[in-house]
Amino acid sequence: MNIWIAIGVTAVGCYAVKLIGLLVPAGALERPAVKRLAALLPVALLAALTAQQTFAEGQTLLLDAKAAGLGAAAVALVLRAPFLVVVAAAVVVTAGVRALTG
């Protein structure tokens, strides 16, 4: 049930922000400070999410095979690999390290 509540709230919220952008008069959100904050918000969220999903399990911090996987993804990004290769590198290296360390 909790999952359905989360899905419902997310669907409504994400749709609402998309629609607001199309409906509000031009210029309403065009203030430089607002635009700047809107551009930086995803940076903060994505950075925190990347770190948490790599270095934590539930509420415990840990260092496991995922760290190696993310390292591989970072290398792929530096080499300008396509999006799917970046994700595949993370998955394959994580699985590989897990298989080796059992």
Binding site: N2, I3, W4, I5, A6, I7, V9, T10, A11, G13, C14, Y15, V17, K18, L19, I20, G21, L22, L23, A26, L29, A33, K35, L37, A39, L40, L41, P42, V43, A44, L45, L46, A47, A48, L49, T50, A51, Q52, Q53, T54, A56, G58, Q59, T60, L61, K66, L70, A73, L77, L84, V86, V87, A89, A90, V91, V93, T94, A95, G96, A99
Partner: protein
């Protein structure tokens, strides 16, 4: 987005959501980063509202795409509620790259339709695939989510400001994780954005003050 719907399907099913729940997410939410954030937060044991809040804040950027698109596409009011669902990173990038309104409208529609169909089909395949292979962790699937976030984040880290925000957010996100309820630390980490902007603004203010007080001294000499 495109084929990464597959990665989302696998991750979502691997996080404990059913195939049906996974597909409803892709059909109704249709903005990749928010979906990954939501299933990640649910898997970590977050309550539904904090999990949804993280997904929501990631989706806020779509409002700013919509702002630019509404001027460019000039859609009739009746069409906007339908077009809104397709306002995402990719459709915005394609539409904004066009030189005429006509080609922008075509670009938006073609990209929107293609990605919507692809994203939902690949989500279904991914979710079914995850159910078939069972233990998704053994296949390293749990690394797909953070890799997607990293791939989205990397091109945004252009200046010191973005890097400072990212660095502070990582510290807050990891540091608060053991002490705050699941899903809350990422919301606190989002405050890294206004915090860094505030410090930056103050610095610029100070610099300007110093510049104005410096000039008279310079004239004295």
């Amino acid at each position: 987005m495109g084929l990464s719907g597959f990665a989302f399907g696998v991750t979502s099913a691997g996080s404990g959501l059913s195939v049906w729940q996974t597909c409803v997410l892709s059909l109704l939410v249709f903005t990749g980063a928010s979906q990954f954030a939501l299933v990640g937060a649910l898997a970590a044991g977050g309550n539904p509202f904090t999990a949804a809040a993280g997904a929501f804040f990631l989706g806020v950027r779509n409002a700013f795409y919509g702002l630019r698109l509404s001027q460019l596409l000039a859609l009739p009011r009746a069409v906007r509620p339908f077009a809104a669902h397709w306002v995402i990173d990719e459709t915005s990038a394609v539409s904004l790259a066009q030189s005429t309104r006509r080609s922008a409208r075509i670009g938006f529609t073609v990209t929107g339709l293609t990605l919507y169909v692809l994203w939902n089909l690949t989500t279904l395949l991914g979710a079914l695939g995850a159910e078939a292979i069972g233990d998704t962790d053994a296949w390293g699937i749990d690394a797909a989510g953070p890799a997607v976030f990293l791939a989205l984040l990397a091109p945004m880290l252009r200046t010191t400001t973005e890097r400072a925000v990212a660095g502070l957010a990582v510290v807050l996100g990891l540091g608060l994780l053991p002490v705050l309820p699941a899903g809350v630390p990422v919301l606190v980490a989002a405050l890294a954005a206004p915090a860094v902007l505030y410090v930056e603004g103050r610095r610029r203010g100070e610099g300007r003050r110093r510049a104005t007080t410096d000039t008279p001294q310079g004239e004295d000499r």
